[in-house]
Symmetry: C2
DNA sequence: AACAACTATTGACGTCAACAATTATTGCTT
DNA sequence: AAGCAATAATTGTTGACGTCAATAGTTGTT
C-alpha cells in the first residue's frame, strides 16, 4: 500500500461542474486521484455504515418487546455469565457505568433482570437474569437470528462464516 | 436514599427455575441452550459493535480538523460526484434530509463546500466542493487510511481484501 | 483514624437519528 | 389559468446515546 506518495498531483483543472442532473447517477468512480475514491472504498466506513444498519435492524426487531439493543446485549451477556457486576457489564459491553444504571433499571422494571447485593462487597450489585428474562431470551432468540440472517442475505453460509471469523479477529482486542 | 431495598427478599437461595409464567411455548430447559450463546456469536452484533468502534476512531481522527464523520462522508461523496442535490446526499448517504441541512451549513461555514442554485429546479440546491474542500480531502486522505489500517491491524492484507469484498456485498443493496 | 481507590449513581452537555410541520416551488389536472 | 398534489429544503421537536464531572457509600491501606 502506498504510504506517503502524494506527489503534487495538483493541477486539477478546476472544472465548474454544475448541472449534472444526477437523479440516477451511476457513480463515475474513475479516480484519477487517490483522495477521490468513493466512500465504499474504505472498509472502516463500510463497517460504520453496516453497524448502523445492523443496530437499526435489531432495534426495530426488539421494538415490540419493549427493550432495545443495549438491553438485549445486557441480557445476552447475563445469559452466559449468570450474574455480573455492573462494573463488569460496563467494561465488557463497552457502555459507560452511568449507562448501565439506566439499563438495569429498565430491565428490573420489566422483571427481566434484578440486582442482588454482593456478599463480598457492599458497593457492588450483582445483576442476574430473572426467570422471565430467561424465557424472554428463549422466545426471542429465533427472531434475533433471523435479523442477522436477513442482514447477511447476500452471502452464502460459507461466506457468512468467513465474515464472522474475520470480524471476530478484528473485534477481539480490547 | 437507600431506604426500602428489596422488601421481600427472603426465600431467594437458588432459583429452582420453575416457570411460573407459563408462556405459550413450554420448551424445557436443556443443557446447552441456543439462546445462551455469547454476544460475539452473532455477526449482526459484531457489526454493530465494530461499527461503533470504527465511527469513534474516525471521529477522533477528524476531531482536530473541525469536521466529523458525517461531514467527511458528505465531502467524500462530493469528491466522486462533483456536485449533488441535498436530496441525493440524503438518499445516498442514508441521512435524513434535515440532517443534510446542518451538515452542509457546517461545511459552508468552513468553506469546504458551497450551495449553488440549480438551474433546472429552484427548489433544489447543488452542493459542490470548494477548492479548499478538495485540498482538505487531499491532505486528510492519508491519515484517514491509517485509521482504517489501524482498525484492521489483526488482519493481513489478503484478509482485509476478503473482508472488504464481503462487506461490500452486504452493503450494496439500497 | 485518616486517606486513597473504587462502585454505583446522578446530573449536565453535546451529538445524533427519526418525525412532523412549514415554505417555496414544480408538475399535473381540469 | 387556477387548483392541487408532490417535491426540496428547512425548522423544530423528541428521544436515544456517549462522555464527562461530581457525589455517596464502601473498601483497603497506611
Amino acid at each position: 500500500m502506498r504510504a506517503t506518495d502524494r506527489p503534487a498531483a495538483g493541477a486539477r483543472t478546476r472544472e465548474p461542474a454544475i448541472a449534472r442532473q444526477p437523479t440516477e447517477n451511476p457513480s463515475p468512480i474513475d479516480a484519477d486521484e487517490p483522495w477521490m475514491r468513493g466512500l465504499h472504498a474504505d472498509t472502516g466506513y463500510l463497517l460504520y455504515r453496516l453497524g448502523l444498519r445492523s443496530g437499526q435492524a435489531f432495534n426495530t426487531f426488539l421494538q415490540e418487546s419493549g427493550v432495545r439493543l443495549r438491553h438485549y446485549a445486557v441480557l445476552r451477556y447475563l445469559a452466559t455469565s449468570e450474574g455480573a457486576l455492573q462494573r463488569e457489564l460496563s467494561t465488557r459491553l463497552g457502555y459507560d457505568p452511568s449507562a448501565i444504571v439506566g439499563l438495569v433499571d429498565d430491565l428490573e422494571k420489566q422483571d427481566l433482570a434484578e440486582r442482588r447485593p454482593s456478599p463480598d462487597d457492599r458497593r457492588s450489585r450483582i445483576v442476574v437474569l430473572t426467570e422471565r428474562g430467561r424465557t424472554f431470551l428463549r422466545d426471542t432468540d429465533e427472531a434475533g437470528l433471523r435479523v442477522t440472517n436477513d442482514l447477511l442475505a447476500p452471502l452464502d453460509p460459507a461466506e457468512r462464516e468467513t465474515l464472522h471469523a474475520l470480524l471476530l479477529r478484528v473485534a477481539d482486542r480490547p
